[in-house]
């Protein structure tokens, strides 16, 4: 069985994977990952888990041509504003790594797949999330 690559990626039994946010009921801020205090309005005990959208828009990006040894390049490091709130960073796939082909605000979907074959020291495989253009 595969593990989630980050704790805000949820793999419910018998359900579809999704990204989880925590939303403050006082100020509506949305955070990735569980937390106790809202860093915007300082309220305590106002945060609860929500399911984040599987669609969004490209906010910003870089095309990475040099990374650490063993990491395949180029890839697009993308910052995506999800529909309904929450901002997530990840790889934009199925898109040419060419600034001419990448538009700000282009609609993308969040897809879940094996984490590029990466395994931990115990041999576990992982599920990650990726962004893919919606044509």
């Amino acid at each position: 069985m595969s593990l989630p690559v980050v704790d805000y990626l949820k793999l419910p039994e018998g359900g579809d994977p999704y990204l989880e946010g925590y939303k403050c009921k006082d100020c509506d801020s949305i955070f990735l990952g569980e937390r106790n205090v809202c860093s915007k309005c300082f309220a305590r005990g106002t945060l609860s888990a929500i399911k984040l959208s599987n669609t969004g828009k490209l906010y910003s990006y870089s095309i990475v041509f040099r990374s650490f040894p063993g990491i395949e390049v180029p890839y697009i490091s993308a910052i995506v504003d999800l529909d309904g709130g929450g901002t997530v960073k990840g790889n934009l796939i199925d898109c040419d790594p060419d600034p001419e082909k990448i538009d700000f605000d282009m609609p993308v979907e969040v897809v879940f797949d094996d984490a590029l074959g990466r395994k931990d020291k115990d041999g576990n495989s992982y599920i990650s999330y990726f962004f893919r253009p919606i044509s």
């Binding site: 910003s60 990475v64 395949e72 590029l116």
Partner: protein, 379 residues
């Protein structure tokens, strides 16, 4: 409260010194600054030392072991790339508080090679190249592309910043490099993280810089001829922004610090004659023209296109060569830029002298984030 003055300040020529140690580099800078002030370590009442790479290894005390163990309080601090500015500001704070009249601040770093940063550590599998990139060139590229998104800023405009700073460094003998890099060379250099090519990334170097800060009383006693007044010293962290968790924010902390610094100094951006700002990447410098109020929002591209930020322009930026060519020894940078501005205010900057410089600003960002701004004034 007493005004605070820089009485002595200096830096070593930045470079690669693998045969030397961090305390050794820091000691050299400390002695240079003490000589510049006409003082010795026996006159210092406290010492604030900035270093990142050996933050748990008592670098300040080891410097004193090389230049004189006087028993004064030593505080070692680390605050990412704002480390040097933090050490300087702590020294300033201690004089402002009336605790001391003469204080030493040193920033020092020995750097490794290659990319800094990297996405997501912790348990499991490596996240770099899987959940985007956390390398510094990519993080600052994404920050720059946010500016492109808003204002249509181009790759070429970002590249021109690197051309400018490399040109400035040809006049700075203490910079790591003194090499012109024409626009085509910058744009055709190895692409690291679009739009930052290799020549648009700061240089990893070893370096050290130091300053002797004194109270007004002490400055008057020792002689004001070469003293520089600290008009403002400000530090901020990053106020909440909605994309913080995936997009480290260098803008809001800089805007907040700039507003507070101008207020503290009783000045505005039009009063500033030169700026040394945190050009860790060419994309970063573009953002800070607007963040520091050197132009209105959306005007940064025009500023570089029209040469306003070059030596001889309306508001010269990074005449030292900046982090892009002078080099970026993380913990030393925040004092090295104070050295640069003081050198201009003293009229001692030689070929790169900003004419009639009376007031200068220094700015650093430690990603995560910390922003340090100082405004300095010729006495």
């Amino acid at each position: 409260m007493s005004d605070v003055y820089v009485l002595g300040v200096d830096m070593i020529k930045f470079g690669r010194f693998p045969e030397r140690t961090v305390p050794d580099l820091g000691a050299e800078a400390a002695l240079l600054a003490l000589d510049d002030a006409g003082l010795n370590i026996g006159n210092m009442e406290a010492f604030y030392c900035g270093n990142l790479g050996q933050a748990n290894a008592m670098v300040g005390q080891r410097i004193l072991q090389e230049i004189g163990q006087t028993g004064i309080p030593v505080v070692n601090c680390s605050n990412a790339c704002a480390t040097g500015a933090t050490a300087f500001r702590e020294a300033w704070t201690s004089i402002k508080a009336g605790l001391y009249d003469v204080v030493l601040a040193v920033g020092v770093e020995q750097m490794g090679t290659g990319l800094l940063g990297g996405a997501g550590g912790g348990a499991g599998i490596p996240k770099e190249g899987l959940l985007g990139s956390g390398t510094m060139p990519a993080v600052f590229a994404e920050a720059g592309m946010e500016h492109s998104r808003e204002y249509g800023t181009t790759f070429e405009q970002f590249a021109k910043i690197s051309v400018k700073n490399h040109h400035h460094s040809t006049m700075n003998p203490k910079a790591r490099y003194q090499i012109e890099t024409p626009l085509e060379e910058v744009m055709n250099a190895e692409m690291i993280s679009y739009p930052n090519t290799k020549l648009m990334c700061s240089v990893n170097v070893d370096g050290a810089a130091a300053a002797v800060l004194v109270s007004e009383k002490k400055a008057k006693e020792l002689g004001m001829q070469r003293a520089v007044r600290v008009k403002a010293s400000v530090m901020t962290s990053d106020p909440y922004q909605e994309r913080d968790l995936v997009m480290p924010d260098v803008n809001s902390c800089t805007r907040k610090a700039a507003a507070e610094a101008y207020e503290m100094a009783g000045l505005d951006a039009n009063d500033i004659d030169l700026v040394e700002l945190h050009d860790c990447f060419a994309t970063a410098e573009m953002l800070h023209y607007e963040n520091l109020g050197l132009c209105s929002d959306g005007e940064a591209g025009r500023l570089i296109d029209e040469g306003e930020v070059e030596l001889g322009g309306r508001i010269p930026v990074n005449v030292s060569g900046g982090l892009l060519s002078k080099g970026h020894p993380l913990g030393a940078t925040g004092i090295a830029n104070i050295y640069e501005v003081c050198t201009h205010l003293r009229g001692e900057a030689g070929e790169r002298q900003v004419e009639n410089a009376r007031i200068g600003m220094t700015h650093v960002i430690g990603l995560g984030s910390a922003c340090g701004i100082h405004i300095l004034e010729k006495v």
